[in-house]
């Protein structure tokens, strides 16, 4: 088992003909992901000539879903078109949308998020590295060669820091069920809590690694959730302990977040919830072994 993506994932790539879309579509196919189609408006009817596979291109997500039975879509579209791509995928009826695009304006994401809440669609991202279920499917840009199948679930706000941890696990012979990069934007799709819940319910996942960073209060909320609802062991790392305090303006942030948002605040909240927190990423493997 695994969460969110597996052998049954039938993936569309929105923005398949762009530079990043092309490169990473080839990487996803090489990993064994079932990429069934691509979408680039005005290039419908053409083919994506991949290194290992030809993939049909469609003008719209709707026509792509109808023709291929796709159930997931990944978005490699520039920021100014990315929110439209999310709405389009949602309206076309895929179950899972993974948006890698960074620099999407936050008010656009607030509106998109509110729209998705009215439907049964899972959004991962934006500004995230996507997901990887080792040995089954790579939906995103997490390098496939650093992961191996196993029983640890990984969820992270950060992109490259996730790779760091997954790589350390694999080098120690500890495999993963699924690695999920949820993205670090102020407003995004699935939260730590959503993914923790999926891992808790996944019989293959024996324990979970949660990687957070300073800012916001998602880690504090996750700590409260873990204390109340999780039976599986959670180990964590929080990035930014030595980061200088940002130049804050206005009073609103301080009033809303109070003492939370700092690495120390998050670490205290997690430890109180029974979570083991590592001092550096390489230490995580020693703690969970």
């Amino acid at each position: 088992m695994s969460i969110l993506v597996d052998k049954n994932t039938r993936l569309l790539v929105q923005g398949i003909t762009g530079r990043e879309g092309t490169f990473h579509t080839n990487q996803m196919i090489a990993y064994g992901t079932n990429v069934v189609g691509g979408v680039t408006p005005s290039k419908g009817g053409q083919w994506f000539e991949g290194d290992d596979k030809r993939v049909p291109i469609f003008d719209t997500v709707k026509s792509a879903v109808e023709a291929t039975g796709a159930n997931a879509s990944i978005i490699f579209v520039p920021a100014r078109f990315a929110v439209d791509a999310i709405y389009e995928a949602a309206d076309a009826g895929v179950d899972l949308i993974v948006c890698l695009t960074e620099h999407i304006p936050v008010l656009d994401m607030i509106a998109a998020r509110a729209y998705l809440e009215t439907r049964r669609i899972t959004l991962v991202g934006p500004n995230c590295p996507g997901l990887l279920t080792p040995g089954q499917a790579k939906v995103g840009i997490i390098p496939g060669n650093i992961a191996m199948p196993g029983n640890v679930g990984v969820v992270s706000k950060s992109g490259t820091l996730t790779y760091e941890v997954v790589d350390a696990l694999t080098r120690r012979g500890i495999g993963q069920t699924t690695c999920v990069g949820i993205g670090g934007d102020p407003i995004s799709g699935v939260s730590f809590i959503d993914v923790l819940q999926l891992f808790e319910d996944d019989p293959e996942t024996e324990q979970i690694i949660m990687i957070g960073e300073i800012g916001g209060n998602a880690e504090e909320q996750a700590a409260a959730y873990i204390a109340r609802n999780m039976t599986k062991r959670v180990t964590s790392f929080i990035a930014g302990r030595t980061a200088p305090p940002g130049r804050r303006m206005g009073h609103a942030g301080a009033i809303v977040e109070g003492g939370s948002g700092t690495a120390d605040g998050k670490i205290v909240a997690l430890r109180q919830a029974g979570v083991t927190v590592a001092d550096h990423p390489d230490q995580i493997v020693d703690l969970i072994g």
Binding site: V106, L107, E164, I187, I214
Partner: protein, 381 residues
């Protein structure tokens, strides 16, 4: 991106928030002229991107144009928490202040909605109010598709016990502030204080506004309002190259891809007894050119005794980074040791390029950090 008070209030006024008459001056003579036009009784306010201006002496009252000139002469050039005052706002004094209210629109990340925050106990000590008497801070969330509804403004006015004759005006100000927030892709619009004047009118005496950096490409007018005087030159160059760079005090330069990994790299350097000279995230999919710029920025700091380059490829490709490092070193003559660690996408190709150039490499982050700390210690002694 943060705006200055005078810029924020001008935008508020465009959406119908009442503000005092006023103008910006960059010399005492100009301040005097503005004070004369405004009738003499003015307040002279430093325009810097930092809070606590009043407590730092950056705000002065004047009752005549002469006094305004003297206040401007005193305030211009002042250093407020490391920010030099280059401009002052000369505002007409409010005709008496009966009450100070706090009103802001911001994004509540947890609720994933914009939120209006208000308090009848506004003014300089609002953070103290929030910490000690949180019940005095009122909040309402805004459904993005609906916008602010009248009943929400009524709730705030009623809960703050505002005089009823002001409710209509207060409604208008709440709606205007939210409209301003939306139209300008703000992450914060804040009025503190919104005062009830001696004449019984609402007036926004101070304003703060932050704009979502991700929206500046469509908010071109606001992008031009950026005060580049307040940005260190190296950080400005980094921003224009799409690099996220913050100068720090230590001696180990860092170049990393991804903010989380960049912070972690700093954390690990500290953990092994070193001190990072900067935070630098070259961003996703960085090309050789950005790597060159990044390395030049890092090495322009004379404190830097070693550089740690930590790239874990996803969108960013190891070979591109390696080529960037080689290109940069061909342009920059430096004796500072570089420790490079590449992993992930095309890391093998990248490491081969670096091995040919005889560079010091590392496999793990801990290993890389320890090598960088050792190199910096050798360089410092």
């Amino acid at each position: 991106m943060n705006l200055h008070e005078y810029q924020a209030k001008r935008l508020f006024a465009e959406h119908g928030v009442p503000i005092p008459d006023g103008k910006v001056a960059s010399s005492p003579a100009e301040a005097r002229q503005i004070a004369r036009e405004l009738g003499g009784r003015v307040v002279v306010k430093s325009q810097v991107h930092v809070g606590g201006r009043g407590k730092a002496g950056g705000i002065g009252l004047a009752n005549t144009p002469d006094e305004a000139e003297a206040q401007a002469a005193r305030i211009l050039g002042m250093d407020i928490k490391g920010y030099k005052v280059r401009r002052v706002l000369v505002d007409q004094q409010a005709p008496g202040i009966k009450q100070e209210i706090y009103l802001a629109v911001l994004i509540d990340r947890a609720a994933r909605r914009p939120m209006i925050m208000a308090s009848a106990a506004g003014g300089m000590d609002i953070e103290e109010v929030a910490a000690t008497t949180p019940e005095k801070i009122l909040t309402v969330h805004i459904e993005p598709a609906l916008g602010v509804r009248g009943y929400q403004a009524t709730y705030l006015a009623s809960a703050m016990d505002l005089p009823r004759e002001l409710w209509r005006d207060f409604h208008k100000i709440v709606a205007s502030l939210y409209a301003c927030f939306q139209a300008n892709d703000a992450s914060l619009t804040e009025i503190n204080p919104l005062v009830i004047t001696g004449e019984g009118k609402l007036l926004a005496l101070d304003g703060k506004m932050s704009i979502d950096d991700n929206a500046l490409s469509r908010q071109t007018r606001l992008a031009e309002m950026r005060d580049t005087d307040e940005e260190p030159p190296a950080e400005r160059e980094a921003r224009l190259s799409g690099i996220n760079f913050i100068q720090l005090e230590g001696n180990i330069g860092c170049m990393v891809n991804g903010a989380g990994l960049a912070m972690t790299t700093m954390d690990v350097i500290k953990l092994f007894g070193g001190d990072p000279a900067n935070f630098l995230d070259i961003g996703g999919g960085a090309k050789a050119e950005q790597v060159t710029t990044a390395l030049r920025l890092i090495l322009s700091d004379p404190n830097v005794k070693a550089v740690l380059i930590n790239i874990f490829g996803g969108i960013t490709r190891g070979d591109e980074v390696a080529r960037g490092i080689i290109e940069a070193l061909a342009q920059i003559d430096t004796a500072v040791p570089l420790i490079v660690r590449l992993a992930g996408t095309n890391a093998k190709e990248g490491m081969e390029i670096l091995a040919e150039a005889k560079m010091e490499t590392a496999v793990t982050l801990s290993d890389a950090a320890q090598k960088a700390v050792a190199a910096a210690k050798r360089g410092a002694s």
